[in-house]
Symmetry: C7
Subunit: 72 residues, 7 copies
Amino acid sequence: MANRPFDMLNEAIGKEVLLLLKGDVSIRGTLKAFDVHLNLVLDNAEKLENGEAKTKYGKLMVRGDSVVLISS
Amino acid sequence: MANRPFDMLNEAIGKEVLLLLKGDVSIRGTLKAFDVHLNLVLDNAEKLENGEAKTKYGKLMVRGDSVVLISS
Amino acid sequence: MANRPFDMLNEAIGKEVLLLLKGDVSIRGTLKAFDVHLNLVLDNAEKLENGEAKTKYGKLMVRGDSVVLISS
Amino acid sequence: MANRPFDMLNEAIGKEVLLLLKGDVSIRGTLKAFDVHLNLVLDNAEKLENGEAKTKYGKLMVRGDSVVLISS
Amino acid sequence: MANRPFDMLNEAIGKEVLLLLKGDVSIRGTLKAFDVHLNLVLDNAEKLENGEAKTKYGKLMVRGDSVVLISS
Amino acid sequence: MANRPFDMLNEAIGKEVLLLLKGDVSIRGTLKAFDVHLNLVLDNAEKLENGEAKTKYGKLMVRGDSVVLISS
Amino acid sequence: MANRPFDMLNEAIGKEVLLLLKGDVSIRGTLKAFDVHLNLVLDNAEKLENGEAKTKYGKLMVRGDSVVLISS
C-alpha cells in the first residue's frame, strides 16, 4: 500500500491512468513521467467525453495545477 | 478531539471518507495516505452524483488544491 | 473585541459557526480546530441549502483556501 | 489622504464598510480588525442582495483572498 | 514614456483611472495610492454598468489580485 | 528567433500586439513596457469584441496574471 | 522516452504542438521556446474552434499558468 500520495504515481508508471482535469476534462493514457508539481506525461492519450474517446493526442504533457484527480 | 486540522486526517486513515472537490465533484473511498498539501490517496473510490455511486475508480490520488472539504 | 482576525477564531472554538465556502456552499457546525491557513475542523457539521440542513457530515475538515467567510 | 492602500483600512477601523467579495457577494458591517493578508473582522455584519440586508451575521471573519474591494 | 509597468501608475496618481476587475466589474475614480501588489486606493469611485455610474463608493480599496487592467 | 519566451516580448516593444486575457477579453495596442510578472503597458489600446474595436483606453496597464496569450 | 515532463518539451522544439488552455481555448503552432513556468512561444500559431483554424496569430507567447495540456 502507498504510504505517501506520490508513491501511488511511482507504482502507476507504465500503466494506464485516468485523469480528471479542471474544467471537467477527462484524459486516459499511459503514465510515462511526473514531477513534484504533478506535471504528467502520458502516451497514447485520448480525451474522453461521456466515457468515450473523442480526441487522440499521442504524447501529452499535463500541467500539474490542472489536475483534479488521477486514477490507476 | 482533534486539536489541529491534520489530526483529523491521521485519525481517518483506513476509514471511509467523503470528499467535496472544486467543481462540485463528490468522491467517497477509504483514506490511504495524505501529505501536507492535502494531496490524498483513496482506495475503493467512487464518484457520486446525487448521492449515488456513478464512476468506480479503484485507487485514486486527489490533488490537494482541488479539495473543498473532507468528512469522516 | 478581537484586535486581529484570528482572535475571533480563538474565541469561537467550541461554539457554532456558519461558513460560506467558494462555490456558494454553506456549512454550519461546531468549530473544533483551525490553523494559520484557515484550515478548519467542525463537529456536528451539516451543509445548508436555502438555510435548511441538507447533508449531515459528522466531523469535517475544510481546506482554508475554500473559505470565503466565517460567522460566529 | 492615505498614501498607502492599508492606511485607508486603519482609518476605517470602527466605521461602517461595504465589501464586495468574489462570487458577487456584498457584505456591510463595522470594521473591527484586519491583517496584511486583508483578512477582515466585521461586527454587525449583514449580507446584501440588490442593496438590501438579507442575512444577519453578527461577528464575521472574511478571508482576504475573497476580497475584491472595500469601500468606506 | 513609462519604461516599467509601475511607472504608469506613478504618473496616474491624482488622476482619473478606469479599472476592469475580475468578474467583469468596471470601476472609475481618482487614483490615490497603490502598492507593489497592485492594491489600489481610489477616491470619488463609482461602479459602472454598461458605461454608466451605478454605485457611488466614495473611498475605495481594491485588492490587487482582482485587477485585470488599469487605464489612465 | 526567440530562444526564451521573454525574448519575444523584447522584440515586440514599440509594435502592435494582440492580447487575450482571462474572461475572454481581447485587447489590441502598442507594447510600451513589461516586467517579469508579465505586467504589460500598452498605448493606443482598445478592447475588441468580435474582432472590432469597442472601447478606447489610451494608456493601459494589464496585470500579468490576467494574461492568457500575447500575439505580435 | 521522456523521463521527466520537461523532456517532452525539449523534444517538441521545432515541431507542431497542440495546446489546450484554460477557458477551453485550443491553439496549434510550432513550438519555438519554453521556460520552467511553462511560458511557451509558438510560431505560425492559430486558434482552433471545433477543430478548425479560426484566428491566425503569427508569433505567440502563452502564459504558463494558462496551460492545461500540451500535445506533440
